[in-house]
Assembly symmetry: C2
């Protein structure tokens, strides 16, 4: 692309450095900002800067947080006897959005993957074990993607917790609500028959 | 979406205020910035701010510019006898990218549209007439979208220039290169027969 302005070029490159944004989209965003008042661009830039400079990682659950300990961990109304273990912050947010979970979280920061060189020590598993050691949690829910790496991670954590008085569960796996059986993959459909649940009429 | 952090929420909303970026994409961009160094976010915000604060409109052709007069207008190697009239800056950039035009431009800032309340006086037509009055231009090329509003705009400008010693041309309209005839719309295909050009073997 041919920019007659160095300023535009730099701004386009800044946007285009973000994932999923190409040069054409970046240019559209830049021209949008030019059409608007300078104030809008200032608000935009300040929101980004302010976030990036002040954002912290929760010392307890490793969620992103405005303070040393996040608003979920400090919320007295949440059930501290259940810890939901997730891979990353996006998964935590997805579960929060369901509104179905009122316990605490623990963000691992990834899953064990020998291929990608991620060992258990690269994750926050030690912190999780420490939290469980303190004795408040009675159950941990493994809300981790059903992949080989995810299953390995669940297996590793469960081994570390062997002999401890704590219940370990995983989120249910099966066909999606609203999904048609014929389009479900074989493995999921097969497992959903093996792990069938008793029907309860209301 | 449920954010446990006010900082994240504000940054997501800043990104989501841009056209074509939803909350999910905005969150992905914010989490991307968090993963990177603070410096990267500073560079990003500064590029945007610097651009928005210092960008100017070229006093001659109304292109966006780093200075009072843009780099195209001040380029001595360009042909000042031809002015290409475009609707907006994106169209100017698209033509520049072809590398086929070495003249100057004039950005109208839109097209005449009674429905949307855009009158000739909302556009930079007066500036264009003034430039032509000065006498350097011998031809103006109307590179304006072939819509009713576009055609109205071309008609209006040509009327204003009646009696002046200047050639007015429009960009060629016809079937696209590489396009299949059967998929071309009737109007374009019909016109392309009426406005056929003499075949020249090389």
């Amino acid at each position: 692309m041919n920019f007659s302005s160095k300023l535009i070029e730099e701004a386009v490159e800044a946007f285009a450095s973000l994932p999923g944004i190409g040069k054409k989209t970046a240019l559209r965003l830049v021209l949008h900002l030019i059409k608007q008042d300078v104030d809008k661009s200032e608000d935009f830039a300040n929101a980004i800067l302010n976030m990036r400079k002040n954002i912290k990682t929760c010392q307890q659950c490793h969620n992103i947080s405005d303070n040393e300990v996040c608003s979920i961990c400090t919320n007295k109304h949440r059930d501290s006897s259940v810890i939901c273990v997730v891979e990353n912050i996006r998964d935590l947010m997805a579960i929060e959005d369901t509104g179905q979970f009122r316990g605490l979280y623990h963000v691992l920061g990834g899953v064990i993957s020998p291929i990608e060189g991620v060992s258990p020590f690269d994750l926050t598993i030690d912190g999780l074990l420490e939290r469980i050691e303190k004795g408040e949690a009675k159950e941990i829910i493994m809300a981790i993607s059903p992949t080989i790496e995810g299953d390995t991670t669940i297996f590793y954590i469960s081994k570390q917790l062997k002999g401890k008085d704590i219940k370990i569960s995983t989120i249910a796996r099966g066909v999606s609500f609203g999904g048609e059986l014929e389009y479900a993959d074989e493995l999921t459909l097969g497992r959903s028959i093996l792990t069938r649940t008793t029907y309860q009429s209301e």
